[in-house]
């Protein structure tokens, strides 16, 4: 028996240790290399962890992600020159999904940006943070100062019971609604907590000092609702939620229009421009993209994974699968793929080729599994 494909990066020589490294190992995690760090791929098993998160609450260590601050008198103007977000409209403590774009409108990274008083707080992907920092340092004006918060760790507590567990430790945190944030005290540490995440579930992302994170992770996992969850289930959860993963579903050669992320292109910015790739993106918005990211339900039981080709009737490659796996909730294989715009309508049947076999996928609306965010004004 041998593995022919692996959903996560294979082992690389350099593996830096994150603040919770020892904590994960003590809890029996299987560690793998990811984004240059040793990280837990699973504890008891991906299926069990996935289902636990959907039913209760899972704690994810996402300390590999980059936490950045942009401060100074030119911070807002500087960030608007690299992001397609309307920062003038961005209210305090309201995280917003945004994109670093290149001159061709391709995606350098996807991120969350939050106004925090006088400065902006950004959370970027772990595998891309070094490049992001270099890009920002090159593009930001002198009056905008970038700080990489290396001493902060980041946790995500996700699932329908996340609010019960966290509100027990942080009274008042339950008042946050989806995509709002604030400063709280968590076991004596100052925590920046936002009601957001990457699983499609209700939940929180919690930024705390690295020196406190092991104690806080232990405290969170001492709550009956909470178990630690590895990267394996993080990937299957976000796939079910229809959320793209940078480096797989998004990269330098994909645009936000192709990727179905036009909500990240603010109305004023579309009209005024002034961000990288605007000309290309304005044209794509007007004419439609030539290819689109879609969700696919795969016929049969065999997963079709990243790298499989989308083929036309003559067997020519016309697109590719960028994420694929088995949905624990649907008990069926699902995938994301880029397909020609003419084939992107819901219900279109797409032929996929992998390992010398042809598979059929039907274009389906995403998310595959409904989101359960706690939006403002929605019934609790």
């Amino acid at each position: 028996m041998s593995e022919t494909e692996q959903a996560t990066a294979p082992q690389a020589p350099a593996q830096a240790a994150l603040p919770l490294d020892g904590w994960h190992r003590d809890r029996g995690a299987r560690m793998v290399e990811f984004a240059g760090y040793a990280m837990p791929i699973q504890y008891e098993g991906i299926l069990a962890e996935h289902k636990w998160t959907r039913a209760s609450a899972g704690l994810f260590d996402v300390s590999h992600m980059g936490q950045l601050l942009v401060a100074g008198p030119e911070a807002e103007r500087g960030l608007e020159s690299v992001l397609p977000t309307d920062l003038a409209l961005l209210k305090d403590a309201k995280p917003k999904y945004s994109l670093l774009l290149n001159e061709e409108g391709g995606i350098i990274d996807d991120l969350m940006v939050t106004r925090r008083g006088e400065h902006f707080y950004l959370v970027v992907n772990g595998a891309t943070k070094a490049g992001d920092i270099a890009h920002l340092e090159a593009k930001l004006p002198r009056g905008a100062v970038l700080d990489h918060m290396k001493e902060q760790a980041l946790l995500a507590l996700q699932g329908p019971k996340a609010v019960d567990a966290l509100a027990r430790l942080v009274p008042g945190v339950e008042a946050l609604t989806f995509m709002t944030a604030g400063v709280f005290q968590l076991d004596g540490a100052t925590a920046w907590i936002s009601r957001s995440g990457y699983t499609g579930e209700d939940g929180f992302e919690i930024s705390v000092p690295a020196r406190d994170v092991a104690r806080i992770a232990e405290l969170l996992c001492a709550q009956a609702e909470v178990k630690p969850i590895g990267l394996g289930a993080r990937d299957s959860l976000r796939l079910e939620a229809g959320l793209p993963l940078y480096g797989h579903d998004l990269d330098h050669s994909t645009t936000p229009v192709e990727a179905g992320l036009t909500f990240a292109l603010a109305k004023r910015r579309r009209a005024e421009g002034g961000f990288p790739g605007w000309h290309r993106l304005a044209k794509e918005l007007a004419d439609g993209p030539i290819r689109k990211r879609v969700g696919l339900l795969i016929e049969g039981r065999q997963p079709v994974r990243e790298g499989a080709m989308v083929v036309d009737g003559e067997g020519n490659e016309v697109g590719k699968v960028t994420s694929g796996g088995f949905s624990p909730c649907l008990e069926a294989p699902i995938a994301m793929a880029y397909v020609p715009a003419a084939s992107a309508a819901e219900g279109s049947v797409i032929a996929l080729a992998a390992r010398g076999k042809i598979y059929a996928g039907t274009v389906t609306a995403m998310p595959f599994v409904p989101h359960r965010y706690q939006r403002k004004g929605a019934a609790a």
């Binding site: 028996m1 593995e3 494909e5 991906i46 299926l47 997963p303 088995f326």
Partner: protein, 123 residues
Amino acid sequence: MSIYYTKEHEWVRVEGDSGTVGVTDFAQGQLGDVVFVEVPEAGRTLSRGGEAAVVESVKAASEVYAPVSGTVTEGNQAVVDEPSLVNTDPEGEGWFFKLTLGDVAELDELMSAEQYQSYCDEQ
């Protein structure tokens, strides 16, 4: 009846010239939750070390190789219908296929249970 093991973490249980093949408990632990199994059809001829079956977990796809050459007499439909049998009973109900051995002498090149155990301990 004897059981032999490969370095690729397959086992073959031999009775006379008939063998039953599966993957080991070590292998299923490495794979994680198995969600798909494809087994060879009866009548298919397998060469030693050749691809014989497919096993996919939530995280990865793997090939299962024929530990010995032979002709398949039965694929295990139960494990196709319920792939998690590979996790719950890898060296029992979770078998993949049965075959008629092509060359019994090939068994000499496989590992005993003790040899396989020490092989796994080194992994």
